[in-house]
Symmetry: D3
């Protein structure tokens, strides 16, 4: 099967890094393609960055909507996820949702190791929407920038271990979630250091996507995620306007 | 004072219609300016339309961020609201939030008269986020399209009265919210027909904005709504890139 | 327009202090009248004080029910608010509700600076009723008595700054609410000290009341806030008995 | 032991009716005394009536606070309950709380048979406060007035059976709560008719009070229900002013 | 009346200890019989122990289902409670539920003094199920084993006082619940030490059971707690198979 | 990899039926083994049946705990799930949890097609525990017995289509969950009939289990799901006692 991972920011190195790590856990018959938009922020660190990135994510998805069996949005805020489900029939998985769902099956409480203090409300917002508020022991910001995760993984790893340890010992966390797609590749070494499951949302999403495709399940098109209403999109890209004419 | 009302869709007639009605309830010393983006969907009827509209809303807000005392996003899904609060210091008000908050002060339960069945989850999502789930008696879709609200107000009005009556008599609603900015101008005649308060979110937002400006309250910039992190926005408009260089 | 502010306790100095501060933010065409009952506790610091004060608040409101465009109950526990809405057609605003609603539009999380530890449950109760539990970062008691707020504002201000700083730095608050009407006049200096919005519920209520009156919205009389059932009130004041004969 | 049942309205016939029925289920060594205030509404059917009744309830309780082992407030809205707990060391039980707690131990879902549609929000409010929202199958108003319950019990009984049957068959109720103290004496015949437990809150409260007294448990005086702060109560009754001087 | 207390573990000394203490607070006309299964764990300290104990609890209850007026399951996790209600007509009370319900009537917030950190999720689970999440100030593990409670009560008492003091002073608890049936007999001395009500769930359950029996209320058999569907139970005890043939 | 599916009831035909269907969606390198206990109810239709089945499920799991990569409990009430997680290091998946989690990724609201009215509270209980209350549009009982699902699949299928249609059209469901493991094999034909995704929890669990094993994630052993405390289990099976001696 073929999975498309969309890195919503415009940093190619991060796209490659994420995709490469995802391939390590994909099945041998799963082809992983990673893409990122040409337009938008080089990293996503707030509601504004998410909003600016969303159109380009959707454009990319529409352009690729015949070619893949499932799609993954690889940013821990799940930007554009519900909009993406409207335009796609194949499953679209957000990595925060995937990580939270997976955590619930291997522990009672999880903590999210978030990139910075300011994005805590975004994660709280997702917890409320997805219904996992009572399963979250804490959100701990490691005090970093998104691009540092790929550039200085060793420094980030130390910060993650330090905050993760506090999450386990002080907050009651039993599972840790890496709160940024750029942290790909750090999960297993932190897991060894702290002796609790550590989840990378991208890998979780790949495994869930493989399962949905195997089972032949696609997005329900009867209400919330119906295809968009046909209409004119002024001055938009051909992909988005094509949607309009569908 | 000066208020900017952003109609997030690209339909100029609706922008004018909304602004005109807002002026009827604005104070004499309040200047209302209505704008809409040049780019994006002609109406907003789902998660996808919202996501596509968001960038243009934000672009417009940034271009105008020195010129107004407060800003209103005039679409009942409050698209881009939290992102807008990040880039602005002046207050930004969403019309759904404004209508729900206002309703809570004149009744125990309200119902939303929604445009179509598919957008019900968006409103449920907002109710959860804003904390008003238990104050909402029902969401009733009138079975219309957004653009019809301005084009055929009499037909829409009949539908609103019919569903509003059911909301009051069957669901226990005490206040009715018009679930689309395009319904501007219908509030008072429905109120007379049904004898319960009927709220147009745009008017609610204007009155709240005036109050915030009088009181000298602006958006808190310490955590969730800090200015965006400085970074590069590839291939984005000058306004958005300027934000990045702030 | 004319607004009546009811200070629910019997301390005239506080009534004057509150009304005077409210006038600073009222519009030039808004007349603010402050009253307090002749009967009841000199301050409200618990469920008992609230209950004892309620009858006198309602009596005052009934006596004045033809004369004002909107009414404000100026005590952070919102005593008698729902009862007042039953007897009035014009809007009745509680200052806790007004402050919480306003806070939600300029920040993601607020903290309440409460007067004393024992009243924390009353505020928690209001948060639950109004639906803002998840928007409240913390309630911090400053350890004072209500009457001290007006008598020793400088001492109270220092305490508020100290606890407010902790709320922002340790609890994640982005907006601070003054948890007692007697703290009127302290908002702006604390705001300058801590650089986050600080809200006085009385001012919030005045601005919301002005907005409701402008929009012509009054209390819904169809269910929860219907006029009281006609009945005899034994040995009650003429005002309350008059209600009974309505 | 001695229990005081306070009927919060001023209708002596209802006080006698309630007390008499309570005695049927009290233990032989329990003395039940029923009282009602001399002042206030003849029935309680809304937020206003509750607020007006509260002071007199509290006055009565203070006057009697040395003489009984526990106290019961016999109105399904539990008016003044938290205030009463502040002034008393002995347990004070509200009949709505008592009925809801009892229902949870003999069924998964209960319905409340409420007196009239307008008081539904009061019961919803209590459900939220006490934490039983998810255990309540429905609130069904029988469409009556409080005083009719004692005057025309047969008519009320028929209405209760009719709505109770719908609650069981359509709403999934497994236990029924009589939503008004005046319905005393109807529980067992409805129980026989519908074959589900039917709870009179007054009896539930008597049994819980007996249990608390046996166990030697009294109201916690460390935070929410500390004795009121000492202060002046202007123009209040000797009982209430005495509290102030305590 | 006759009450059966089932200690779900197989430690006879604990059964005797619990029953003896329960008798101190039972009415003189209440006969308390304590039993425990012959099969299963010697203590219950987790989900696994609970699951293993449940069958034997149910077997015991069925064997005794004609002989008692009410039944108590004396383990703070309330193991098998809902299953027990299916097979019994007489009331079945769990001690955690009984303690939480009782606490709500004498304080606003309670804390549970839990036996060990690992069982915290079980108690959180119960709080969610019963609807008391917002009434719980904290769960504090005293760091002990269940069997130590009966063997070394003085050591346990010191630990309970230490953690209980923190619960009151740091967490805002107004009532303390003993989180293990084996702590029977420690309530009153901790209450004297900390000056807040301290509740032993077994005593609470006895008092509630006496009340239910007096009032003639039994378990509702119409939906959740209907008798089990008739069916074959392979290789099960005669008691359980008899149920099947009912 | 090797997965063990435990059918918690003692009906071999159902075990075979479930396992066979699971194999259709398992990967070619996944070996599915189905087992059921020798002891316990022939079907699980209530809290009592669940409780009786739990010990045998756990016994089976312990006996097999070295031999499989992941374990599935194939009953929609997820009986014994948390207990199983205590004794296992490898992942243990419940089919209700698996189906609910999967549903959330392909629709906004799901309905559960439950076997009978009496088990509705069990599913509501799970929804609360797992945090999916707001994602559940309805629970609709088809009015059948568990064993009929395997014996008369055509009749059950018609009932499922009938209730599923109502769930979609009247309740707003976008995804349907088969509320009984015995309904295996009916998903795809109902999906074709109703044109919304229909999920069999067993298949969902198989796909999730494969993903967890691929990713190398096992149950967190630090708090809620630590191995059971070492202790004596009187008169229990060798497997359970062996656990005790671990």
């Amino acid at each position: 099967m073929r999975l498309l991972i969309v890195n919503p920011n415009t940093t190619v190195m991060m796209t490659e890094h994420i995709s490469e790590y995802a391939r390590q856990y994909a099945r041998s018959d799963t082809e992983i393609v990673g893409v990122n938009p040409q337009k938008g922020p080089v990293s996503i660190e707030g509601f504004f960055d998410e909003a600016i990135a969303s159109e380009a994510i959707l454009d990319l998805l529409i352009q690729n909507r015949e070619n893949y069996d499932a799609y993954i949005i690889a940013c821990f805020g799940d930007p554009g996820l519900f909009a993406a489900r409207e335009i796609m029939k194949a499953p679209v998985i957000g990595i925060a949702e995937a990580a939270m769902l997976t955590a619930c099956m291997v522990g009672y409480r999880f903590s999210v190791l978030d990139i910075m203090e300011r994005t805590r409300p975004q994660i709280e917002d997702l917890l409320g929407r997805y219904g996992f508020g009572h399963r979250c022991a804490s959100i701990r910001a490691v005090g970093a920038k998104v691009l540092e995760t790929t550039q200085d993984p060793e420094i980030i790893k130390e910060k993650l271990i330090k905050e993760g340890k506090k999450a386990v010992e002080e907050d009651g966390a039993e599972v840790l979630l890496l709160g940024c797609a750029g942290m790909a590749g750090l999960d297993k070494s932190i897991e060894r250091a702290l002796n609790v499951p550590v989840l990378d949302g991208v890998v979780c999403a790949v495994k869930i996507a493989e399962g949905l495709v195997d089972y032949g399940i696609s997005t329900s098109k009867v209400r919330a995620f119906k295809y968009p209403e046909p209409k004119e999109f002024k001055n938009c890209s051909p992909a988005i306007s094509f949607t309009a004419e569908r």
